[in-house]
Symmetry: C2
Subunit: 304 residues, 2 copies
């Protein structure tokens, strides 16, 4: 069932409020742009503040809140997740990878700072995410064991067992025929893994039971996959002005996408199924999970 | 005073034994090369097992042992440090950075696997280092708080406040006149920071007092700087066959090195002073610090 206008307004307000909070926290936690060596801090900050929905940090916060935690309690973790996401975009855009000149309507990092500095800006954002996650002063209420578990889960989800593995398969698949299984692997690892661990991290820091963690994990995999498929749909049919970069670029390079393998119609159906499955997983959560419910429905309906 | 032949043999035996132990542990802790996606694991393992002195992991172990700890107690941390060092070499060698075709006599990662996969291989090694450091099963005797401190110190030393910052200044200095202060900054951040944190990590896990940590930190900065200067000296005067890559390449690109700024003679003097200062810092340690003492002297005398 599509969101009514009241629900839409409530969600938009929630997303906007959290986006502003997250951006203020990132600004506070990452050293200022006039720190020596300036070029590195400028390059890192350029991409950190180049816009974006801040979906991963917001999911981290919404998961914590759904279990009675607060956004303040998990904010540095939310910021670390956004830094990891940003590093992955900087490296994905490099000429040796997707070779994109624009992202969200702005020149990509390497177009401004050069390829070498863009590699370093990505490297440093990834590294600095772990500095935040391991800074006990930033998490006064958290047990060291919980923080260590968050570091462990995020490093698994971002590395060999998640995001980079998905990116490697994606890169290796360019110009080849891509099986359905390969496509699923790419989406699950490149996108859903980090989304899922964003929810889990927030929940762990809010003291979630293993049962709740398992529910949120399945919610996360479903909306993560739905999110990636809608990205691919929008890339085929989207309005270039709304998308912020040339549409159809994935098609030109024969890159694996859901619409190219299964067709647009099947892709849209799949998104609907995934959103329903996500909602079912958190059906037993109380009203504090409303943002998670609205976000799942938004993922199914989004136009940008 | 130069090492006598008995000391040399003792050190060589120690380094060889630890090198073999470290390589076996890395092999065990990093997923096998036939893990899907194979190309990523092959690329990461190619550089991990492309040789090298394994200086950072050995310093981590030697620091732990100097305080009564064991190599087994810190081995996964030692491996994580080698993975971070290896990632930095893969990215440094990229065409957009130092553009090196060979390292230690073998083609660099991107020459074999392509630039995109080399970026990802570096990314995944950095990420996976934090997976090891946060895996409590690998450190059965360690307190969560100590492991978290190790994660924090390593992420600081490898990121904005250390290695990547040094690399950014180095990259930004190419083709420019480099002041002495800039040169010191590069060496201190690009090389000494990771060497120092290698010692500190091993010491923290072995239960070091703050006083011992401070001694090891100063030992580390001194030998780290000495190590980098001897690298630069060897790059100018070294035997290409021993160095494993074309010598003088830094000179051609007008890259900041100690010999190019201060001259070979001054550079050699400085190495001697640094080694003496390092030894003075650990003078009060007992016999279990002998490997650290021999390593400091080796750094001053090494020919490869």
């Amino acid at each position: 069932m599509r969101m009514n206008s009241e629900e839409k307004t409530r969600l938009e307000k929630y997303l906007e409020q959290k986006r502003v909070e997250v951006e203020a926290a990132v600004d506070r936690l990452v050293p200022p742009a006039d720190t020596y060596p300036q070029v590195l801090f400028e390059a890192a900050r350029y991409s950190l503040f180049a816009g974006g929905k801040r979906l991963r940090p917001i999911l981290c916060i919404a998961a914590a809140e759904s279990l009675g935690g607060s956004s303040g309690q998990v904010m540095p973790c939310a910021c670390a997740l956004e830094m990891i996401h940003t590093y992955s975009l900087i490296h994905d855009d490099l000429p040796a990878m997707d070779d994109d000149d624009y992202r969200r309507g702005k020149p990509t990092n390497h177009k401004i700072f050069g390829e070498g500095m863009a590699v370093l800006a990505g490297d440093v954002l990834l590294t600095d995410a772990f500095r935040l996650l391991s800074d006990r002063g930033l998490f006064p209420d958290a047990a060291a064991g919980d923080l260590l578990r968050v570091v462990h889960e995020i490093s698994r989800a971002a590395g060999f067992f998640g995001m980079v593995a998905g990116q490697a398969v994606d890169l290796d698949s360019e110009g080849k025929d891509v099986t359905f299984e390969t496509l699923m692997y790419i989406h699950d690892h490149k996108t859903a893994a980090l989304i899922t661990v964003s929810l889990r991290s927030g929940a762990i820091l809010a003291g979630a039971s293993e049962a709740r963690l398992s529910d949120l994990t399945k919610y996360g995999r479903n909306i993560g996959l739905a999110f990636q498929i809608t990205d691919d749909i929008l890339n085929v049919e989207g309005d270039p002005a709304l998308m912020g970069k040339g549409t159809g670029s994935d098609g030109v390079r024969r890159k694996a996408t859901w619409p190219s393998v299964a067709g647009l119609e099947k892709a849209r159906e799949k998104v609907g199924e995934l959103v329903e499955a996500a909602l079912a997983r958190i059906a037993s959560f109380d009203d504090r999970a409303e943002p998670l419910r609205l976000i799942a429905r938004y993922v199914g309906e989004r136009k940008t």
